[in-house]
Each structure stands twice: as C-alpha cells, then as structure tokens.
Amino acid sequence: LVTSQSIGIGIATGVALGSLYALVGLSFNLIVATTGFMNFTLESILALGGIGSYLLLNEAGVPVIASIALILVLGAVCGLIVELVAHRPLAGVAKDPHTAMFLVTIGIATAVDALSSKFFGSTLREVNPYVAPKPIFIEGVPIPPSYIVITLVVAVTSLILELGIRYTSIGKQLTATQLDKEGAQLVGIRVTIIVATTFAIASAFAAIAGFLITPITGASAYNGQDLIIAVFAAITIGGLGSFRGALLGGLLVGLTSGLVPLYLPVDSVDPILLLAMIIVLIWRPTGLLGSKQLRTI
C-alpha cells in the first residue's frame, strides 16, 4: 500500500542514496575530466572504505572522527597506488589507453574484491553507526539521521570541490590540465603531480562514500559491485566527466531507487536504470548535462 508516509520515506531514501551515488559519480568524473580515463578501481576502494569502517569502529573501537580521517588517508593512498600501477604505465604509451585503462582497472577491481572477500568473508556485516540511529520525524515521516548526514556531507563536499576548483591555485591548474594537457605542461604546471592528486582525491571520496553508506547496507567486500550499477547509470545519464551532471544524475537515479520499489519489485530498479541509460544515450549521447564533444567515429 502506497501512503504519503511511504512516499516520504521513499523520497528521503532516494535523496540520501542519490547523494551517495553523486559522491561516487563525482570521484569517477574527477578522473575522467582530468585524464579521460575510467578508473574502475574506485568501486573496490568504496568497498574497502566500508570494510575499513567495520574494522576501525567495531574491532578497534577508534572514535568516529579519527576513523573518518584514517579512511580518507587510506583511500588517498589506494588512489596513488592505482595511479602508479595502472595509470602511469598506460598513459602516453598504449595505443588505445582509454579502453586499456578501463579493462585493466576492471581486472584489478575484481581481483581486489575477491581478495577482500577471502579475508573479510563475503557476508554483510553490520557496522556500529556513526550517528545515533533513532529516526527524526519530519512531517510525520521517520528519517534516519544518517540520511541527513550523508546528504549534508555530499552537499558540503561538492560545494568545497566546486569552490576549490574555481578559486584555488591547484584547482586552476587542474582546470588547465583538463582543457589542454600539453599547454598546461608548457606553462610549467606539473601535470603528473596534478593527475596524481586527482587520483588521490577521487579515491578518498570513494572511500568515504563506502564509510557513509554502512548504516544503509552494512560492510561487505561486494558493496562496491552492488553500488556501481547505480553510479554508472548516474554518470551516464548526467554526462561523463561533468560535475553537475554527476549531481543531477545521482539524484535522479537515487529517487528512482527510492521510489520504484513502492510500486514494482525491488529487482526491477537495475533493469529500469539500464533501459534509462540506453534511452538517454541514444537521445542525448553526451548525457543530460555533458558538454564534452563526443566523436561518433
């Protein structure tokens, strides 16, 4: 039975999930925009973020703030490793580096997931909540506080990212690298460092998304694989490489995953997203907000 309360819960869930998809989508797009590469390992870094928060909060009893800091740092380190192992050997050498990087990172990601499931077990584990789980009532709709935290964190993060890119020196260098890599190199921007920084920031985002999602999904080695479908849909619908596209796409996909289960079986969410991706790509190949010119051949 669909009531106004269940719709309210659906919307709240949709916004919270959508913010998470947007955050992960942002981290994908950050790397796509700077280097043109699709870094699939962000999926396993997300799962590792969830596992890390279980180990820190449940096993080691580390305070929440310290856990967040540690997860951010570990995520950034993972990103730097990926940059060193997968991106650097391919960039500039491979004949078709974009396809190669996509396939290489899929290989690494599935291997990492398999390895972490071997050590962590493939079952879901409940993680101690980072905020009190008692729901807050807004207009009679019970909303878990973690939803509000997720939405706020993502809103603040994307605002900082947007401002940082516009007004800081690193942000301007990043934009320059995005627009013209060789030109940026010529004016003395150290492109390798900028690219490495991008990988580190994006991976830290993915790791913290893995931490934020634990009250909803728990921690598992396959969290990333479960979530990646929606994130793919978000960035494809919003536009690959576009920041605002990731936010809009994330929100749309989140609302779909929040509201569709009210009317149809939960399992129909993914096929609906797949269908939406196909339609959007045929109708507007660059995504809803993508501005990057794409070649058809």
């Binding site: 699709m38 050498v93 398999a114 997203l273 991706m277």
Partner: protein
C-alpha cells in the same frame, strides 16, 4: 600513420591481398583438420567429467571468438557477451522445458533473441563510442540476476531451469554437437575476417575516418559487427543450455565475462587463434581451481589486468605481439620466391621485428 598502415597491411588475414593466399589456405586447412581430428578423438580416450569440461571450454571459446571479432578486430568495446549467452540459453531452456518444444526448434529463436539483445545494448554505440558502450554492456551483465528475479515463474529465479536435454543419455553425441558448433563458429569468424568485411572492421578499429572518407558507412559497419559477432556467442548460449542440462543466473556472472575478455586479451587480440588458446588456458585454470572459488576471480582479474597492460604497451610502442610475429614469419616463408630478398628485407625492417 604510414607505420600503422604498413603494420596492418602486413597481417596475413587481410582478405584483399591476393599473394600468399594459396599457401596460407593450405596451411590453415591442414591446421584446422589436425585440430578437428584431435578433438574428435578425445571421447575415445575419456568419457568422464573431463569430457564435460572440454565441452565447456569449447563453448566458451565460441564466445571468445565472438568477443574477439567485436573488440579485437573492430575495436568496439562490447563487454556483454555473458548477457547474450544468458538470453539465448534462457530462450532455449524456457521453450524446451516449460513449453515442451523440440530442442532443435529452439535454435533459431535462441539465435535471434541473442543477436537482438546485443544489437539493442549496442545501439547507443552508434552515437557514442568506447567507454559508454563498455559501461552499458558491462552493466547488462550485472543486471542478469535482477531480471531473472523479476520473472520467477518464467526463469525459475535463483534456482534456474533444469531438464533441458538434447540427447538423453548420450554424452558423446552431445560432445560432437559442441565440437561441431565450435568448428562452425571458427569457420564463420575466419571467413568474415578474410573477406572484404574483415578489412572494413579493421579499418573501423584503426582509422574510422578513412572508412568514412572512402564513402563507406561507419554506422552500417558497426551494425554489421554487432549482428555478426553476436551469432557465435548466441550459438554458444544455446548449446550451453543443453550441454549443462540446466540454466541458472550464476552461470552468466562476472567471472564468465572476465574469462571471455581475458581470453581475448591474453594471447593476441585481433588474431584468429589467440582467443581460442586463451580460453583453453583460462577456462582450464577455472576448472582446476573451481569456478566458484574466490581465487578463480582473483586469478582471472590479475591475468586480465596484466594481459591488457602488456598487450597495449607492446602494441603502443609499434611492435607486434608474439602471435602476430609468428604469423608474419609464416607468411614470409610462404611468399619466398615470389618476392625479392630486398623486398622482404625492407618489409622486415618496417615491421620492426
């Protein structure tokens, strides 16, 4: 650019080049006959589980050959072979088990369904290239479980459908059917690669603009690849439904996608034999390790990452892969006498081997 062209025009499978075709054809025929004889002799020696495992390898090799045509030859990043196999396998199993159709009558419908799903999933590929197609088709593999869950009455949800039997009690006839499918797929792919279409596909991969400049439709070439490369994959799905005597969603998972893809990439993408040898190595590994063991996916993932890295670095630096180098030497041997020593010397220098 000139280096590129010379590298690819030197490929022995180029349909347009007339020289060396006779010698080349003869050696191919001898090779294929030898392989067929060996495969045909296997049931004489073993009828145990090993025969079933070899069947699976042959079936997956058909999918790898299809994937190789899309990715290796045409350069279109379609990763949804597992979806195509799932659709045709389920079509066959549903029609056979639920509706009691004769297994042979399910073949045309299973083929059409498999090809149709690949074309639908690839449609965005006509407007966008590369990564989008890769994302979308990869996504479709992850959707298989959800789709079977939505229609539990039709697909049997997680348990799947069992009882799709083609030759009751005769393991050997089934083996020969699988072998026939494998040989047929090989000949099919080989003929396309050797024909003018093969040349068009490689041009689509290496120089799409020159394809358009020549007045050939890029769009039509892409549609051709999507349809044709799906055929062996759909055929593999159909025969898998009967070889396995059951279908379930966990047959068509990430590890199958990885096996197919890593098989294409590991030896030499864009060659006829590369994906077949690759499938024998990787699916053999999966069978030894156990398909549902976490170490299986771990190993496949690592192999895929390393193989793609090595292949693209070697290709990117202008050198040829090991397989291509061997083929090149064979072609040069075959053309001895027709070309002057100076010519083959300059050839060799150009190829950098």
């Amino acid at each position: 650019m000139s280096e590129e062209t010379s590298q690819h025009s030197s490929e022995p499978f180029l349909g347009a080049s007339k020289w060396s075709t006779n010698a080349y054809h003869r050696s191919t025929v001898v090779g294929v006959v030898a392989v067929v004889v060996i495969l045909a002799a296997i049931p004489v020696f073993t009828r145990s589980n090993l025969l079933f495992e070899i069947q699976l390898i042959l079936i997956y090799a058909c999918s790898s050959m299809g994937a190789n045509l899309t990715v290796g030859y045409a350069g279109e990043l379609f990763l949804g072979q597992a979806t195509v196999m799932a659709v045709s396998a389920y079509t066959a199993a549903i029609l056979n088990v639920t509706y009691g159709w004769n297994p042979w009558l399910t073949l045309p419908l299973a083929l059409v369904a498999g090809i149709a799903i690949q074309v639908i999933l690839s449609l965005p590929g006509l407007r966008v290239g590369g990564l989008y197609l890769g994302l979308l088709s990869f996504f479709s593999v992850l959707c298989i479980v959800s789709v079977t869950d939505i229609f539990p009455n039709l697909t049997g949800a997680e348990a799947g459908i069992s009882g799709s039997i083609l030759f009751s009690g005769s393991q050997v006839s089934l083996y020969y059917l699988v072998m026939g499918v494998f040989v047929l797929s090989f000949i099919f792919i080989r003929n396309i690669v050797m024909s003018g279409w093969g040349l068009r596909l490689r041009t689509l991969r290496d120089a799409p603009h020159s394809l358009a400049t020549l007045g050939l439709s890029v769009r039509r070439t892409k549609i051709f690849v999507y349809i044709v490369s799906a055929a062996p994959v759909a055929l593999a799905g159909w025969v898998l439904a009967f070889a396995n005597e059951a279908v379930s969603p966990n047959l068509f998972n990430l590890s199958l996608t990885l096996t197919i893809f890593a098989s294409v990439m590991i030896i030499a993408p864009g060659t006829l034999y590369g994906p077949i040898i690759g499938t024998f190595i990787l699916e053999g590994y999966s069978q030894v390790i156990g398909a549902f063991n976490a170490y299986n996916v771990l190993g496949l993932g690592i192999v895929m990452a390393v193989a793609v890295m090595v292949v693209s670095r070697v290709r990117g630096s202008g050198a040829l892969s090991l397989g291509q180098r061997l083929m090149l030497r064979r072609r040069e041997d075959a053309t001895q006498g027709k070309r002057s020593p100076e010519q083959s010397l300059t050839d060799r220098e150009q190829h950098g081997s």
